[in-house]
């Protein structure tokens, strides 16, 4: 059940920010592998115009890639621009404009080599452009979203060592530095591009060139024949804004668009069998959780936290709140991602044990307020269902529905229990942004020096296997006594007409192959 209703109430499609790690070259066909329904119809066809509908930001939208905030912004940005790296399906960093990266021994200096690519105006992408872009993002006068992700980089000390080589100097060892390069919104723009240029004549190195842009309405881009990864199949792509989910579906059914982003599970169910349109489910795209503040009563007692873990009937939550579109969670972030601790046993509802734990903690007849809001799909539904489940364990939950526009800020420091959700990001980013003492968005108030130390240890560990072991230790700790009750991972649902081919079905939202239109063609 998604909550894509009115523009003002729509779940603002924020992506979770990231900073990241790991190196691996991946080139090639996104529609490559076995069970891809859409790639079966053979060779890509050139030509045509594809209209894609997203929920958008209305008249305030901009094409400044560093200001990208919503899914629609990102989809447009990735059509026009490139990052140095981007996330693969398992959220590991894949090289894009960067051809390769090489750290020094202590992991605090990284040499990045750019591939040969040109901007739409014909200028080559150079090290200077990269440094300009990063410095623009980190400008203390501004508040660009990626600024936090670039925090480890000492940009004053970093420099261009050649036309296409940059040396990044870091403030501390960072094994997952490639994640920084793939960070959300860290796009490379030409040197000296300024704010006003972006809406009028944006120039990037991406697969499409700018044609026209009307904020809140549509953006039209044309194929960039000189794209370094090969020209897109489509002649043109038009992004249209339709905040209302039913409008996107109707437009799709009526043949007014070819691609509708973010559909309801119900819609998916209605049309999956119908055959009028194609439904694409991007698995593991959105973590769904309840977030317990571990620094205050009653959740400062880890027995109460564990009891709550045991209260949740994850399948019921999934069926009720997400209409079954997703997978149950195991109180750990990043199912299916690199470094995920898949070995831990799946938690099931156990009301008796929960009750016993609560009794031990002296928290019988517990009464808690659960903050929720219509800010994201399934939030209020999940709150209602969890309230009913908790009642069976003798816990009274008062559901408090708050303002959707300030929800995230409201729940950061206030309350004790709230609904929470996160888009896809590397597990490392999840840990660093939310679970360290100095994390800026530490909604569970998880502050443990030993846990911080483990994170530093991982970042200084060069060997990947060893690093994975450290991550495993951290996750095991969170599994037993953490503040996140992660009950599910929602599918990201996309609808296309039958003509649309080459839509990647594996990539979670936020990753490279999601909303990537240079590999899509019209049959």
């Amino acid at each position: 059940m998604y909550d894509e209703r009115l523009p003002g109430l729509r779940r603002r499609g924020f992506l979770a920010a990231t900073s990241g790690a790991a190196a691996l070259a991946l080139v090639g066909c996104s529609g490559g592998t076995d069970d891809q329904a859409q790639s079966t119809s053979g060779t890509p066809k050139r030509g045509g115009r594809l209209r894609a509908a997203f929920a958008g930001g209305g008249a305030s939208e901009t094409l400044d890639p560093h200001l990208a905030n919503l899914f629609a912004d990102v989809a447009r940005a990735k059509a026009l621009y490139d990052k140095l790296a981007d996330y693969g399906a398992d959220l590991s960093a894949q090289p894009r404009l960067a051809e390769k990266w090489e750290p020094n021994k202590t992991l605090d200096r990284w040499q990045v080599t750019l591939r040969q690519a040109t901007f739409h105006d014909g200028r080559p992408v150079t090290a200077r452009d990269v440094l300009y872009s990063y410095r623009r993002i980190a400008d203390p006068e501004q508040a660009f979203r990626a600024k936090a992700s670039l925090e480890p980089v000492d940009l004053d000390a970093s420099r261009a060592t050649g036309e296409r080589t940059v040396e990044f100097v870091l403030k501390r060892p960072t094994a997952e530095f490639p994640n920084v390069l793939a960070a959300f919104g860290a796009y490379i723009v030409p040197e000296n591009a300024t704010g006003t240029d972006f809406d009028k004549k944006p120039v990037g190195s991406g697969p499409f060139r700018f044609v026209s842009f009307a904020p809140g309405r549509s953006a039209v881009f044309r194929r960039n024949d000189d794209y370094w990864e090969g020209a897109p199949h489509l002649d043109e792509i038009e992004f249209v804004v339709a905040n209302e989910e039913s409008a996107r579906v109707n437009a799709l059914l009526g043949g007014q668009i070819e691609y509708a982003h973010e559909l309801n599970p119900t819609t998916a169910r209605a049309h999956e069998a119908g055959g009028q349109i194609e439904i694409v489910r991007l698995r593991n795209s959105a973590m769904q959780a309840f977030c317990m503040k571990t620094d205050r009563a009653p959740f400062d007692d880890k027995r109460v936290r564990e009891a709550f873990f045991l209260i949740a009937d994850r399948q019921e939550l999934l069926d009720g709140a997400l209409s079954g579109a997703g997978e149950v969670g195991n109180d750990l972030f990043g199912k299916g991602y690199e470094y995920y601790a898949a070995g831990l046993p799946q938690r099931e509802q156990d009301l008796d044990r929960a009750r016993a734990l609560l009794k031990k903690a002296g928290a019988e007849n517990l009464r808690v307020t659960l903050d929720t809001s219509a800010v994201a799909a399934g939030f209020t539904e999940a709150a209602g269902i969890f309230r009913d489940q908790a009642a069976k364990a003798g816990v009274t939950i008062d559901v408090k529905v708050g303002s959707k526009d300030s929800y995230w800020s409201d729940i950061l420091d206030n309350g004790t229990l709230c609904c929470y959700r996160s888009g896809a990001m590397p597990i490392e980013a999840h840990l660093s942004q939310r679970l360290l003492t100095d994390s800026t968005t530490n909604a569970t108030k998880w502050r443990h020096k030993d846990f911080d130390a483990l994170y530093q240890q991982a970042q200084s560990t060069r060997d990947k296997t060893e690093r994975a072991a450290v991550y495993e230790r951290m996750q095991r700790r969170l599994y037993t006594e953490g503040g996140f009750l992660i009950w599910g991972f929602a599918d990201w649902i996309i609808g296309t007409t039958k003509r649309v081919k080459g839509v990647e079905t594996k990539a979670p939202a936020n990753t490279l192959d999601w909303a990537r239109f240079d590999k899509v063609w019209l049959a």
Partner: protein, 357 residues
């Protein structure tokens, strides 16, 4: 149809209800002469002037109210922009960049000062001028409203007259109950229904206006459903009012008199009775603007028409105070002007009714 029912009761009633302005009684006559004075150009002008003054006050009050409410909303533009990255430092930085760290009255004063020079200010979120927001979004909304009104008037009046003509008979009952049933259905439900049936099942019409942007006029088919949804409720209320007015007017002595002197039925209905049913209907029409606006918010969302309603909801969600303010001014002025116009028209149609200023 005779109205003098014989006996004293009918006559007495007629005397009470209809002859208020007739000569022979001091009280009512005096009143009517006073109202006659309004028609002098000077008084007429002062009537308009008083109404404009009131309108100005109304607009001001609306703006203040909206400002107060927008300020009172939880969170501000910075929080809204930060979204799910509510890093306090970042929010503070955004706030500073937006000038939100200054006290609210100061910002309002600044905005008002700019307003006096016709400067609506700039959006907090995008930094673009508010005027651009309004001009861009005005077109589609205006088109929708104009089309709706253009259809509403003949349809509402037509149905009202039709029902009044057949008062108490099947046609009347049919018109009355169908319009009433439609009146009770919220726009979103009606919209969903119409789209499902007319656009998806029958494929007669495009389900949305997605991607047409400002060139809505180039795609008239896409406008059919939105206008239909917008029309549904006002048509009902208007036709009910017209019906009631027409029933009264058709039963009035002056209608009987016109018939008595051989004026054809249609002419009695449209030229003699209808003008009397018009005054309340015209004022209702002005009130319809409020509904249209409400309807537009819903309809714009349902059919993806980037108009004022969409901008408004976005601006509220983004806590983009200058944009909300600008829209409040536009809506306030629009409402005031339309009500003024309606009052003037009504005043013209029933000059004996002193329209309270």
């Amino acid at each position: 149809m005779t109205t003098q029912l014989g006996g004293s009761a009918a006559k007495g009633r007629g005397a009470v209800s209809k002859c208020g302005s007739a000569a022979g009684r001091d009280q009512p006559r005096r009143r009517s002469t006073r109202k006659t004075a309004y028609r002098d150009t000077a008084s007429g002008r002062s009537f308009v002037a008083r109404r404009l003054l009131l309108g100005g006050a109304q607009t001001l009050a609306v703006v203040l109210l909206v400002f107060a409410l927008t300020e009172a909303l939880p969170g501000d533009a910075a929080v809204a922009l930060a979204g799910d990255q509510p890093d306090p430092a970042r929010i503070a930085a955004i706030r500073e960049a937006m000038d939100l760290d200054r006290p609210a009255p100061e910002r309002l004063a600044d905005w008002a000062a700019g307003m006096l020079h016709g400067d609506f200010g700039t959006s907090l979120t995008s930094g673009r001028p508010v005027t651009q927001y309004i001009t861009d979004a005005f077109g589609p909304t205006l088109l929708l409203a104009a089309l709706t009104l253009a259809l509403l008037v003949p349809l509402g009046f037509g149905l009202g007259v039709l029902a009044a003509r057949h008062e108490g008979r099947l046609v009347d009952r049919l018109v009355s109950s169908v319009t009433l049933a439609v009146y009770a259905v919220p726009e979103f439900a009606l919209g969903v229904l119409l789209v499902t049936v007319l656009a998806l099942k029958l494929a007669w019409l495009p389900p949305t206006a997605v991607g047409y942007g400002t060139e809505l006029l180039g795609h008239p088919a896409a406008l059919v459903l939105p206008v239909l949804v917008l029309l549904a409720r006002p048509v009902c209320s208007l036709s009910r009012l017209v019906r009631a007015g027409m029933v009264d007017a058709l039963a009035s002595p002056y209608a009987a008199h016109a018939r008595r002197y051989g004026v054809p039925g249609a002419r009695v209905r449209y030229a003699h009775a209808l003008p009397n049913a018009l005054a309340p209907a015209v004022q209702q029409l002005a009130r319809t603007v409020d509904w249209l606006l409400c309807g537009v918010i819903v309809v714009e969302a349902l059919f993806v028409i980037p108009g004022l309603g969409t901008v408004l909801l976005n601006a509220v969600a983004e806590r983009d105070v200058p944009v909300v303010q600008g829209l409040a001014v536009v809506f306030g002025v629009l409402t005031v002007l339309l009500n003024l116009g309606a009052d003037l028209v009504a005043y013209r149609l029933t000059p004996r009714a002193g329209v309270a200023a």
